[in-house]
């Protein structure tokens, strides 16, 4: 069928089953927007900043597991999208971003709104394309979606010169993809899996180290089955919160810089790390030479480059976590779970010694209380997004995440301003679910223009702003490591949050007491409007436990004990 390049873009999006596209028009992408106007196959959400469009597509992808799509124009439209691409790249999120480009004849002439998009995005995309002919466009679009979702997922940029969106060509959307140089490994090597199983059976203190790859691979049920069958305790990374389930007795908690005591001690004392879709990030390992010092390491990862990148691995298994676990679990039928009993008891004692805790207050709302209360009120049903900083860590520590894809945050890049637009994407994917962005008074302002988007499209996400009038995480480091010189972190000057939300068509709540918190949240859930819940919290609360950067995991700064618990 003959059609224009712009039509091909729309047809490909429809063929891929994408229901919602987030974007922002501009000169170089106008022909595509003209076709979007004419079609009914998908809806388009006009964010008020390209960065937000990409984060929204990202949130949509994280919530659904499907490829998210964002569309931007050339030049500044594209450069605004770069942070979104990098965020998705660091967390391996499947996404296709389509950018307009100046006409082919103008490329290289410093034309108006020209920028080398493939050059800039090379290190922050899984792959990118500059389309050069109308003939190759259908194949490029198909490959973009395929590359985004296959193997280790990631964002793909398709940069399309304006004249190619006008050109007419034959469109037949390819049914399949064959890229001879790109063949991801899904099946783990059977021999390696057998060796790993033997290691598990002969270990005394094994530990499941569960990463975000288990979410991407939809392996949660298998991970739980493995833990259940072997009775091996588990720790989750920031990206894996929810995989084991909040009440799972084998789950010790989150490990790493702000991991709980039992998790970090478990990693320090284990004799066998069973790493599933985790990549030994520095925020997880702390000082590498002290990390899992006494352990052999089984590392299951779909990306061979992750294996032995930072930690020496004894049992490397390249493959998709789901497929590897499907082979591994039946081999563990005769595992002796009593073997690990003593180890489980040690870890139980560690957890009793220093549970994840904080000292609550009757005078001021503690941010940890707010998170716990959210968990009690909306729990497993809600989708929780977050921005980056203290509130993100408190959410990861205190919210009872019970299923994968319930927790959406920028882990690898740590992008402030991610949470609100990502919440829009998640809410659009699951309109019936309550979607809450846990944010701070610093982060929320980085994409606050999305109030307008949310109001226009009636996307009622709830922004719970844990407001400590600080860039809290930086302030915490200044307290600990910079002798309390609070350089440029004091946010005492603030907008009128309630008025700000209302000015943009949303609702605002100012919350200073626990009663107001409950009332505001209950009201916000009922509303069909976006809202800001401005929650005044204790200014100088710290995220604890904390492993100072570069320190060993077992050297934690711990919270003070609750009243009555002092020994």
């Amino acid at each position: 069928m003959q059609m224009s390049g712009a039509q091909m873009v729309c047809e490909a999006i429809i063929a891929e089953g994408v229901k919602t596209v987030f974007g922002y028009p501009g000169g170089a992408i106008m022909h595509v927007y003209d076709e979007i106007y004419k079609q009914n196959g998908f809806e388009h959400i006009l964010n008020r900043h390209e960065q937000a469009s990409v984060h929204a597509a990202d949130g949509y992808a994280r919530a659904t597991g499907e490829v998210g799509v964002a569309m931007v124009t050339s030049g500044p439209g594209f450069t605004n999208a770069v942070t979104g691409l990098a965020t998705a790249y660091m967390d391996s999120i499947p996404m296709v971003v389509i950018s307009g480009q100046v006409p082919l004849s103008l490329i290289g002439t410093d034309g108006f709104q020209e920028i080398d998009a493939v050059g800039i995005s090379r290190p922050c995309t899984k792959h990118n394309f500059l389309v050069r002919t109308i003939e190759e466009l259908p194949r490029v679009l198909k490959e973009a979606f395929y590359i985004a979702r296959s193997g280790r997922p990631g964002p793909v940029l398709v940069d399309i010169p304006k004249d190619i969106t006008v050109d007419i060509g034959e469109f037949a959307y390819p049914e399949s993809v064959d890229i001879p140089s790109y063949k991801p490994t899904y099946k783990g090597n059977r021999r390696q899996i057998e060796k790993a199983v033997e290691a598990i059976k002969s270990a005394k203190k094994p530990l499941l180290y569960i990463g975000g790859g288990t979410v991407l691979s939809n392996a949660s049920d298998l991970v739980r089955e493995l833990a259940e069958k072997t009775q091996i305790p588990a720790v989750e990374t920031l990206m894996a919160r929810g995989v084991m389930g909040a009440k799972n007795p084998l789950l010790l908690g989150m490990l790493g810089m702000h991991g709980n005591y039992a998790s970090n001690m478990a990693m320090s004392e284990t004799d066998l790390v069973i790493s599933l879709g985790a990549r030994f990030d520095d925020r997880v390992t702390g000082k590498l030479s002290e990390f899992a010092k006494y352990a052999d390491v089984i590392h299951v990862d779909i990306d061979p480059a992750n294996i032995a990148k930072l930690v020496d691995v004894d049992y490397p298994i390249v493959g998709d976590v789901t497929q590897v676990l499907e082979k591994m679990i039946p081999l563990l039928d005769d595992v002796n779970t009593d073997r690990y009993q003593a180890w489980r008891e040690i870890l139980k004692r560690y957890d009793e010694l220093h549970p994840q805790s904080y000292v609550d207050s009757d005078e001021v709302i503690k941010p940890q209380w707010a998170i716990e209360r959210l968990g009690e009120l909306v729990g497993v049903d809600a989708i929780i997004t977050s921005d980056v900083g203290q509130h993100q860590m408190w959410a990861a520590q205190h919210y009872p995440f019970d299923r994968p894809r319930q927790w959406i945050n920028s882990g690898g890049l740590g992008t402030m301003g991610f949470g609100f637009p990502a919440a829009l994407g998640a809410k659009r994917a699951f309109p019936e679910k309550t979607v809450i962005n846990i944010t701070g008074d610093g982060s929320i302002l980085m994409n606050m223009q999305e109030l307008v988007t949310a109001a226009e499209y009636k996307i009622p996400v709830i922004n719970v702003i844990l407001n400590n009038h600080f860039l809290g995480m930086v302030r915490q480091w200044q307290t600990f490591f910079y002798e309390k010189r609070y350089s440029e972190t004091d946010l005492t000057f603030q907008p009128n949050w309630k008025a700000l939300a209302e000015a943009c068509g949303g609702i605002g709540y100012d919350v200073t007491t626990k009663e107001e918190f409950d009332a505001a949240l209950k009201d916000a859930i009922k509303q069909d409007k976006v809202c800001f819940m401005n929650v005044a919290v204790n200014r100088f609360e710290d995220v604890l436990p904390m492993v100072p950067a570069g320190g060993a995991l077992f050297n934690m700064m711990l919270p003070q004990k609750k009243h009555g618990e002092e020994k």
Binding site: V118, G119, R122, P123, K126, H127, L130, R132, I147, I179, P180, S181, Y182, D303, P304, A305, A308, K309
Partner: protein
């Protein structure tokens, strides 16, 4: 046992011959802080592929990461970390015509090269040999006052 840190390694990368593929490879080295000592690229005859030869150095762990990261690039077919290879490099040297041409000629012959062009004021010689021999040739050529030396990158083939 891990070998000494910062060993020299030659890596061949077979890629799809498409635009910006060289940029992807070199950007990977730049972005991840790997060294490129020399780089040679040319199409593979009778195919739509190109062969990139990179001489690099780093610890065993770094070299392993380079290989894996190169593999991750979508247009990369194959990465060969050379162990047993034949390795050649070429150099063009321009000498003033007033120098002792027979000496220069003998020197070039000793390194499997020769005179490739003679002009009014200059002669140009070419030598293709192993990188270490090229280095020695350049040292030996110094006494004939070379006015220009252009050294090519390494090409290698596994034995």
């Amino acid at each position: 046992m891990a070998k000494a840190t910062n060993e020299r390694r030659v890596v061949s990368v077979v890629v799809m011959n498409e635009s910006s593929v060289l940029a992807r490879v070199t950007a990977l080295f730049a972005g991840r802080g790997y060294n490129i000592e020399s780089l040679t690229v040319a199409p593979i005859p009778g195919s739509d592929m190109s062969h990139i030869t990179i001489a690099t150095n780093g610890s065993t762990k770094v070299i392993e990461q380079i290989t894996k990261q190169l593999h991750k690039l979508i247009p990369v077919y194959k990465v060969i970390e050379h162990e047993e290879m034949v390795e050649k490099e070429m150099v063009l040297v321009k000498f003033p015509i007033a120098e002792n041409l027979s000496d220069i000629s003998v020197l070039c012959a000793a390194y499997n090269g020769g005179v490739v062009n003679v002009g009014k004021e200059m002669i140009i010689t070419m030598v293709a040999d192993e990188p270490m021999r090229i280095k020695h040739f350049i040292e030996a050529a110094q006494r004939y006052n070379p006015c220009e030396i252009v050294r090519g990158g390494v090409v290698a083939i596994e034995r």
